[in-house]
Symmetry: C2
Amino acid sequence: MRKLPAKLASRLYDAAELIAERGLDGTKIDDIAEVTGIPKATIYYHLDGKNGVLQFLLGDMLDLVAGAVGVAVSGDEDARTRLQAAVVAQLSVMLEHPFLCRALVGDLGRVARLPELTLAVHATFFEPIERLLAEGVADGSLRQVADPGTVAMSVFGAITIAGLSAAAEGPHDDPAADAARLAAGISELILDGLATRG
Amino acid sequence: MRKLPAKLASRLYDAAELIAERGLDGTKIDDIAEVTGIPKATIYYHLDGKNGVLQFLLGDMLDLVAGAVGVAVSGDEDARTRLQAAVVAQLSVMLEHPFLCRALVGDLGRVARLPELTLAVHATFFEPIERLLAEGVADGSLRQVADPGTVAMSVFGAITIAGLSAAAEGPHDDPAADAARLAAGISELILDGLATRG
DNA sequence: TCCGAGTTTGGACTGGCAGTACAACATACG
DNA sequence: CGTATGTTGTACTGCCAGTCCAAACTCGGA
């Protein structure tokens, strides 16, 4: 699995829609070759088969998310504000790449069995949240909770499932606006909670 | 796909661990036949191939969750209390069936392409939450939020991802206790939020 | 201009496995 | 009994991922 020439990489994206639609199993290597215009032999020359295609596509998306979230997380505002920014950032990237998202969900099992990707997912989605939660307690902008690990995982789940579900509905005319709308709803939930105040 | 005799049904569960471990693709029909002791021909007589096995197993788990959540949701306490009970109920069933959970995640894509199951998932996991949120506004135990659909989806995500992640760590000695612990963390998040007051 | 290393491609081939076909046998029930 | 329904072993088919290979093509350096 060497580095893929940019030209091939860009053409490979055309396979994402196919995989999102039918799953990796339902997608023949020959189909991928056809829609991307990259001959089968060339795909095998560069990539490790079908899994390799998936791995390349998702690895690429994870980089994008990691980048966007990284920027959001490293500002100098308080942790609460940065948490909100991180939510927006993650959702924006997800909604900008609905097909990749759907491919990700659809073949989650396979992804989970690609150790390299598992680590990347953890580092990209989960860890930044966990860190922000701790920083928020330190700077006083977030509450100390009894079980930070569980809470971090839940926050991660709230954002991710909301994003995936929105992405699954298909391409959006204005991903940024939809991301902002979703993020507002999620922030309202995870910051203020649902209980009425006594 | 007629109704499966109870004896076969119970033996089929032995396949769940296999599928959870390797994914449905990594699992040969002959492997399933071997671990369950049900001959291949018999499997095909009753079920619609590999997908049929998965569909049967997950359909069964969904029934369990639906039942437990249904009970929790239909008490006569206020909606906030019932929401907490529903969280516990869902997590309990999930942690009692870690292999089914893992099989579910692993082959989410396939599940999403089985229309019958998609509907069941929605009705089992998502709708009760959505309903409780509305009832809580009515009885004053939960806050009115700007975007109830997004919030319901996020709550669903928080519970489900926390449960799946716990289930993925393997079988638990005391699923009920762990479910209670997780549920406490999640309730703290979704009811009270993370923001500091003032 | 020529060389050689890396890349690209078509085409043919292999092996594994899902799913099918079917006949023989079991069991149940009127 | 006898008919319907379930159970099973075995043999077979067809599909498709992945492999192999030889012929071309690209391109930078000598």
